[in-house]
Amino acid sequence: MRNKLAPLLAAALVFAALALPAVANAAPQPPKRVVALTPFAANTLAKLGVTPVAIGQTLGGAERFSPKLKNVTELPLSHPNGPNLEQLASLNPDLVFSSQTWAKGNQAMDELGIDVVVHDPRSVAGAFADTFKIGTIMGRKHYARDLLQQQRKEVEAAEQGIEKRPKVMLILGVGRTPFTFLPNSWGGDIVTRAGGKLLTGGVTSNSGFERISDEVVVAENPDIIIAVPHANEDDIPSLTEYLRSNPAWSSTKAAQSGRVYISVDNSLLQAGTDIARTIRKVRRAYLKN
């Protein structure tokens, strides 16, 4: 019996020795040439020690990028495709981290044979999940785990010691019909974590934003109004005055007590990797809690 099994075992060992490297070679390799169209993906890659071949930059945008990405090629983004597809293809990327904003472009990239994944979180929990997913895709699960542990600790510390929970109306855009951030938006989640009670009029929306009636603003009477208007630092005084004197809002506690603020960076609009810093800034500069 032993004599009969020996050749079989030997054959199996030889087969395993030959087959294993082949199996190992077949395992997916992390992409080498990566393009990050969102600041979240770009900064997460930088924190994981990966330098993308290009990052996206919207015209007039105020995206905050890690200093590690200083010399990385910038791809101008415009609606509806996002990057210029010829420019993108010339970079020969293995993978593009994109956003739903460029849905049409994502489809076109896919048709060009470029792999696209969408990671543009709208909540802090979503940012944590996406950080780990990006780490996994890039073969840096271990670094992603360390980064997540550090981020979670920092966020918990930033949320500590909240003494007041003021009612906050957080609005997107300028004009006479601004949209209100809802809890399922990035800014809404940040303000809630910073201790604010979001004024929403009980509205929910998949988009995370909705135009709500000024009658609700008068009735709910927010303590604080924060506007995210896509404007420049120089515009802050005139915009603050415009919002404060809005007939619909001028009698609110926010306007009466001079607590109408303008946030001109994108920290409340787009997911970032410096989450704890953003929460601390909201608490210190706006909520004062």
Binding site: T58, L59, G60, G61, L77, S78, H79, P80, T101, L172, G173, V174, G175, R176, T177, P178, F179, G201, G202, V203, S205, F209, E210, R211, I212, S213, D214, E215, V216, V218, A219, N221, P229, H230, A231, N232, D234, D235, S238, L239, Y242, N246, P247, A248, S251, L269
Partner: protein
């Protein structure tokens, strides 16, 4: 005559109903008895007083004024150009006002307080360019030339608007309501800025009603009766430009109203006489916009939706029904 009186009565009733609904309903429930007390200065809770006096009342007045202005602008343009497809779009006002507003929203957000004036200025500029091209060279002042110059100007300004929106997509949400058309709760602020343009537009229209009726007989007949067809067309164009640009400054782009309302009142009244069509279009336009705005802000309250689609929902079935009967 009796038919016109019935149509007038129906339009006035519709306007009254729309105004009452506009004042009585909103995202916040205010009892109708309290609304009446507030309107007649008999008090109410401070919050309700502010909602009715600062938000609903000015908005209702704006809806009536803008609806009337667009209805009249469409009526006189259709009469002056002898073209059933004429509306404020045709003389470039809508395209120009849209471009002016988007320019502020996208490129100069810090100057947002200037939005109504910029929309007004660009609307009037577009109309002035249309008149300048249409009233120079051969066939000056001809209907074809006015319409073609208007379409060219509309295309030019629309291209500029689209280009700005495509270049700054993240800023586009702020522009959606202006483009889709909608009233806001900005108190009396916007009206304080643009009321002289409404007044000037309506005054010019008063002097055009009879000349427009003569023009309807044809240029030659009108000339033989002592009228000057080109001057009437220019006057109608200027009045329509003032009314439509002032409307766009307050309520964004609401092209549909100016096109459809005059046809509806013409078909319902069975006459094209401007002594009937112009005031009936004013009342019909006011009723339609006040009603549509009430729907836009109450149907999914407290979410506010653009008023444009609601005007179409309210106006098109009636328009198609009358069109079927007329044909």
């Amino acid at each position: 005559m009796a038919r016109r009186a019935i149509v007038f009565a129906a339009l006035v009733a519709a306007l009254l109903a729309a105004v009452v609904c506009s004042l009585a309903f909103g995202a916040v429930k205010v009892p109708i008895s309290e609304v009446i007390d507030i309107i007649f200065g008999n008090g109410g809770s401070p919050t309700d007083v502010q909602i009715v006096e600062t938000l609903r009342l000015p908005r209702t007045v704006e809806a009536m004024l803008v609806g009337a202005a667009l209805g009249v602008a469409g009526a006189i343009l259709q009469g002056a150009l002898g073209n059933p497809l004429a509306s404020p779009d045709v003389i470039g006002v809508t395209g120009g006002a849209g471009f002016g507003a988007i320019l502020i929203i996208i490129l100069l957000p810090g100057s947002i307080a200037l939005l109504p004036l910029t929309a007004l200025a660009f609307g009037l500029l577009a109309a002035a360019l249309v008149f300048a091209f249409a009233w120079t060279g051969r066939n000056r002042g001809s209907v074809g030339k006015v319409v073609l110059a208007g379409i060219a100007m509309l295309s030019l300004f629309t291209a500029g608007t689209t280009g700005l929106l495509a270049a700054f997509p993240e800023r586009a949400p702020s522009a959606i309501f202006f483009i889709a058309g909608g009233l806001t709760s900005s108190g009396w602020r916007d009206l304080e800025t643009v009321w002289p343009y409404f007044l000037a537009g309506f005054l010019v229209v008063l002097f055009l009603i009879r000349p427009l009726d003569r023009l309807a007989l044809g240029d030659d007949v009108a000339a033989s009766l002592g009228s000057r067809p080109q001057a009437i067309r220019l006057g109608a164009g200027i009045a329509a430009a003032l009314l439509a640009a002032a409307s766009a400054a307050i309520a964004g782009l609401l092209g549909f109203l100016g096109l459809v309302v005059p046809h509806v009142v013409r078909m319902a009244g069975g006459t094209s006489s401007h002594t009937y069509v112009v005031p009936a279009s004013a009342i019909g336009g006011a009723a339609l916009l006040a009603g549509a705005d009430t729907l836009a802000r109450t149907l999914r309250a407290p979410i506010e939706m653009p008023v444009g689609p609601f005007m179409v929902i309210l106006g098109v079935p009636l328009f198609l029904w009358l069109l079927r009967k007329a044909v």
